[in-house]
C-alpha cells in the first residue's frame, strides 16, 4: 500500500517561541523511514532558532539516508535563510529534495 508522506506545515510565524512544538513534531519524524514533506508556503516570519531546528532535522535525516521534500515557496523563508548563511531545504518546488547544507 502506498501512503502519502507526512507533511509538516510550517506556521505563518515560525520563531523560537514555536520551536518547542515544532521540535516535538519533527522529532516524531526524524527517523521516519519514508519521505517527509516540509511545507514552507505559509511562512511569513522565521527566525534563526527555527532555521537551526530545520537544519538539524535535515542533517540528521541525510545522515540516515532518508529523504526530506521541501514544498511550496516563501520569500520570507528564503530571505531569513540567506541572512544567516544557511541553506535549509530548497524551496524551488514541491518535488525538490532537501539540500540541507551550509557554507562551512
Amino acid at each position: 500500500m502506498i501512503t502519502d508522506p507526512p507533511v509538516v506545515l510550517l506556521p505563518i510565524r515560525s520563531s523560537v517561541r514555536e520551536c518547542a512544538a515544532l521540535k516535538r513534531q519533527l522529532l516524531a519524524l526524524v527517523a521516519y523511514p519514508g519521505a517527509v514533506r516540509i511545507d514552507v508556503t505559509d511562512v511569513e516570519l522565521i527566525d534563526t532558532a527555527a532555521l537551526q531546528l530545520l537544519f538539524a532535522f535535515c542533517r540528521e535525516r541525510i545522515a540516515k539516508d532518508l529523504s526530506t521534500i521541501w514544498q511550496g515557496d516563501s520569500p520570507a523563508f528564503r530571505a531569513a535563510a540567506t541572512a544567516v548563511s544557511l541553506q535549509v531545504g530548497d524551496s524551488a518546488g514541491p518535488s525538490s529534495h532537501s539540500a540541507c547544507q551550509h557554507d562551512a
Binding site: V16, R17, C19, A20, L22, K23, R24, L26, L27, V30, D47, T48, A49, A50, Q52, L53, F55, A56, F57, R59, E60, A80, A83, V84, S85, L86, H102, D103, A104
Partner: protein
C-alpha cells in the same frame, strides 16, 4: 616573571581599573557650562598615576596613550582649553580605549592598535586646536616618542581609516528568546558597513533529539571589508549577545605609515590589530567594565579579616579546651564537654557568618555601569534623563552581584527606551522635559531589594489586556486585577514586535529577566501607574552559598526544598486530589486547582508510599504558578551549604545544586523554577 612581579602587576591593574571607573564617573558629572576644578584635577590625577604605573612596569603603549590624555587634561585644568561636550565625549572614549589597552596588557594579548591610533589622533587634533598649539604639539611628539607606537599629528592623513578587511568570529551566547539575540539582526547591521561575507558553522550542533531550540549552536565567520574603524564594528557587536573575536586583515600596502619622529628609530611594523570582545550588550565601554567586575579576586576590608581571625582564634581555644577535657579526667566530664561543644558550634556559626561577610560586596560595582549607559543611550534616543542612584553601599554576595548585572541592564534599557518619554511628549503631558530613572538598593531582613524605575508613561493596562486576549493568554470573559494584567508582560508571548511602543513595550525580555532573577532564588514585582511611571522591584537572597531549606524524604533519598519557594505543607485527606483532563493530577488549594508532581516519578525513584494521604504535599510557587510536590515525608528545616552540580558533576533537570548532610550523605537541592516548568510542559504534552 617572578611571583612578586605578578602580584605587583595584579595590584596595578586592579587599581587602574578602579581609577578608570572613578574617572568615568567624574567625567559624566562634569558640567560643560561650569566645570568643577577639583573634578578635573581628580581626572588628571587618574591619568597621571596610570601613566606613572604603566611606565614603571614598561607598559609603553599604555604610558604613551595616557601621556597624550594627560596633556589634554593638563590643558583643561589650567583653563587653557574650555571643557566642552565634545571634549567630555572624547575623554569618555579615551577611558574605554585605556581600559581596553589595560585589559589586553593584563591578558598579554595584542592591543587594538587601530582604535588606539584613532582616539590618539582625535586627542592630538583637539590639542592642536588650542592656543599655541604648535609648541605643545611638538612637546607631545617628543614626550611620546620612546614608545615607538605613538602616532604624531604631523601627518594626520596617514592615520585616517583606510579600507580594512575584518574577520569576526561570532558565537552567540544568549538564549534565542532573548530580545535582540537573533544573530541575523547583527549581520544585517554589519552588512550596511561595507562588503560582507558570511559563513555558518554547524559543528557544535548536537543530535536532533538533544537540541535545545532556545540555544544557538551555530557560529559564524564574518568577513567585512569597510573603511570604518573597529570602533564602529564594535558598536554593533556590543549590542549582540555573543562572544566576538575581531581581527583585522589589512593589506600590507594600505597600512598607515607611522609618522617618523626626529631622532627616533623607525617604528616596528604594527602587529595586526586584534581585540577580544566579550560584549555584554552595554553601550560604550561597559562590556569591558563588566568583565572587570566579574573577576576572580575580591578586595576585603581589614576589619572583616580581623573579625575572621578572631573567630578562628576562638575556635582554636575551644578545640584545645575540648581536647584537654577528653584527655584528662576519667570518666570524661560529659557536661563540660557538651558545654564546650555548644561553644564550638557557636564559634563555627560565627566563622560561617564572617566568611559570608567577606564575600559581600557593595552593589555599587553593579550600579557603576549605569551612568555611562544612561549617558550614551539618552544621547542616542534624544531623551533627557537624570539618573538617581541610592543605596550603592548595600552589600550583596559576590556571586549574586555578578549575575544581577545583565537583568539590571535589561531593566534600565527598557526604562530608557520605552518608559521615559521624549522631552516634547513629557512637556505636553505637563511633566519636566527631563525624565528620572532611579536605581535603589536596600536590605530587608535576609534579602536585598533592588528597585529600578522611572517617571515615564507607565504601562497601558487596557492595551496589554486586549493584546493578551487577542493572543489567547487570557480568556475573553476572564477578569484580571490591574496587578495581574501588568504581570502579563512577564509572559514569554509578549515581545517588542507584538506590543506597541505606547504600551511601553515592556514585554521586551521581561520573561528572561524574571527567569534570571528566579534562578538566583529571587522574585520580581512590577508596579506601574499610567502617566506616572513604572518600577520593577527585585528581591534577592543575600547569598547563593547557603540556602534555608526543608529536607524531605523520597524513596531512599533526601531532597532539600528552598524555604523561599514553599507556600504551605499539607497532609492530604483521601479524595482531595482530582484528575483533570489535560492537566493530570490536581489538588484544590485555596480555591485553585494546582498540578501535583510526584517527586518519585520526576526522579524515577521507588517511593515508600504511593497514596497521597500517606505522604505529604508541599505547595511551592514560582513565576506566579503553584505546584504541589508530593513526597514521602517531611524531615525538618535546616541551612545547607550549596555545592554546584555543574562544577562537581553535570547539570540535572529539576536540581539546582547539592549539599552534604550532617551524616555525610549527599542531598540534592530542588530547582523549583525547573520543576514548575516541568509541570507546565507535562501538561502541555
Amino acid at each position: 616573571m617572578t611571583l612578586e612581579m605578578d602580584q605587583f602587576h595584579s595590584g596595578f591593574f586592579e587599581e587602574a581599573f578602579e581609577s578608570l571607573d572613578a574617572m568615568e564617573t567624574a567625567l559624566l558629572q562634569l558640567d560643560p557650562g561650569a566645570p568643577n576644578a577639583e573634578a578635573i584635577n581628580s581626572i588628571f590625577r587618574v591619568a597621571h598615576s596610570i601613566k606613572g604605573g604603566s611606565g614603571m612596569f614598561s607598559f609603553t603603549e599604555v604610558a604613551s596613550f595616557t601621556h597624550t590624555l594627560e596633556t589634554l587634561l593638563d590643558e583643561l585644568r589650567a583653563g587653557r582649553m574650555p571643557v566642552t561636550r565634545p571634549t567630555i565625549d572624547l575623554l569618555l572614549k579615551s577611558t574605554d580605549v585605556l581600559r581596553g589597552m589595560l585589559q589586553a596588557t593584563q591578558r598579554k594579548s595584542p592591543v587594538d592598535q587601530q582604535t588606539v591610533a584613532d582616539i590618539q589622533f582625535d586627542l592630538e587634533q583637539m590639542l592642536a586646536k588650542r592656543p599655541s598649539a604648535a609648541d605643545t604639539a611638538a612637546a607631545v611628539q617628543v614626550a611620546s616618542a620612546p614608545t615607538n607606537t605613538s602616532l604624531s599629528s604631523a601627518k594626520p592623513e596617514s592615520l585616517r581609516p583606510k579600507q580594512m578587511t575584518w574577520t569576526i568570529e561570532f558565537r552567540p551566547t544568549a538564549r534565542l528568546p532573548e530580545p535582540g539575540a537573533d544573530p541575523s539582526r547583527v549581520f544585517c547591521e554589519l552588512a550596511e558597513l561595507g562588503t560582507m561575507a558570511l559563513v555558518a558553522h554547524a559543528d557544535k550542533l548536537p543530535a536532533f533529539a538533544d537540541l535545545d531550540p532556545e540555544v544557538c549552536y551555530l557560529t559564524w565567520t564574518i568577513t567585512l571589508t569597510t573603511e570604518l574603524t573597529s570602533e564602529a564594528i564594535q558598536n554593533i557587536l556590543n549590542w549582540a549577545e555573543a562572544d566576538c573575536q575581531l581581527r583585522a586583515e589589512e593589506p600590507a600596502s594600505s597600512r598607515p605609515d607611522p609618522a617618523p619622529i626626529a631622532s627616533n628609530p623607525p617604528p616596528p611594523p604594527s602587529p595586526p590589530p586584534a581585540t577580544n570582545l566579550t560584549p555584554t550588550g552595554d553601550a560604550g565601554g561597559n562590556s569591558a567594565k563588566a568583565a572587570t567586575a566579574d573577576s576572580n579576586s575580591i578586595r576585603v576590608a581589614t576589619e572583616k579579616l580581623d573579625e575572621l581571625m578572631n573567630t578562628v582564634g576562638e575556635i582554636v581555644i575551644a578545640q584545645s579546651m575540648l581536647m584537654q577535657l577528653v584527655d584528662g579526667a576519667e570518666p570524661p566530664p560529659v557536661d563540660r564537654i557538651r558545654a564546650g561543644l555548644i561553644h564550638l558550634e557557636r564559634n563555627v556559626r560565627e566563622l560561617q557568618e564572617s566568611v559570608m561577610r567577606v564575600r559581600m560586596l557593595p552593589i555599587r560595582s553593579a550600579f557603576s555601569r549605569f551612568p555611562r549607559l544612561v549617558h550614551d543611550l539618552s544621547a542616542r534616543l534624544n531623551k533627557q534623563i537624570e539618573l538617581k542612584m541610592t543605596g550603592e553601599q548595600t552589600e550583596l554576595d559576590k556571586k549574586v552581584l555578578e549575575k544581577i548585572g545583565d537583568p539590571l541592564v535589561h531593566l534600565v534599557r527598557n526604562s530608557i527606551d520605552h518608559g521615559i518619554e521624549l522631552p516634547e511628549t513629557r512637556i505636553a503631558a505637563g511633566k519636566s522635559a527631563v525624565g528620572t530613572l532611579f536605581l535603589n538598593a536596600y536590605q530587608l531582613g535576609g534579602s536585598i531589594v533592588i528597585e529600578v524605575g522611572d517617571d515615564g508613561a507607565g504601562l497601558n493596562l487596557e492595551r496589554i489586556l486586549s493584546k493578551a486576549r487577542a493572543k489567547g493568554l487570557v480568556g475573553p470573559n476572564d477578569f484580571l486585577s490591574d496587578e495581574a494584567v501588568a504581570n502579563l508582560i512577564f509572559q514569554p508571548g509578549f515581545s517588542t514586535t507584538e506590543v506597541t511602543t505606547e504600551l511601553s513595550g515592556r514585554g521586551v525580555g521581561m520573561d528572561v529577566v524574571r527567569r534570571n532573577i528566579e534562578e538566583l532564588g529571587g522574585t520580581v514585582e512590577l508596579r506601574t501607574e499610567v502617566g506616572k511611571g513604572s518600577s520593577v522591584v527585585i528581591t534577592l537572597p543575600l547569598t547563593l552559598a547557603i540556602v534555608d531549606g526543608l529536607s524531605v524524604a523520597v524513596g531512599g533519598e533526601v531532597y532539600i526544598v528552598p524555604l523561599v519557594a514553599i507556600i504551605a505543607s499539607l497532609q492530604f485527606k483521601r479524595g482531595v486530589a482530582r484528575q483533570l483532563a489535560g492537566v493530570g493530577e490536581v489538588l484544590l488549594f485555596r480555591g485553585d486547582y494546582i498540578p501535583i508532581i510526584r517527586l518519585h516519578d520526576a526522579f524515577n525513584l521507588e517511593p515508600r508510599c504511593h497514596d497521597l494521604d500517606l505522604g505529604s504535599v508541599m505547595v511551592v510557587e514560582c513565576d506566579g504558578r503553584k505546584v504541589g510536590l508530593f513526597v514521602d515525608e517531611l524531615l525538618g528545616q535546616q541551612q545547607v551549604v550549596v555545592k554546584s552540580m555543574e562544577t562537581n558533576y553535570r547539570r540535572i533537570e529539576g536540581v539546582s545544586g547539592a549539599t552534604i548532610l550532617g551524616d555525610g550523605s549527599v542531598a540534592l537541592i530542588l530547582d523549583i523554577p525547573g520543576l514548575v516548568r516541568y509541570a507546565a510542559e507535562r501538561n502541555a504534552a
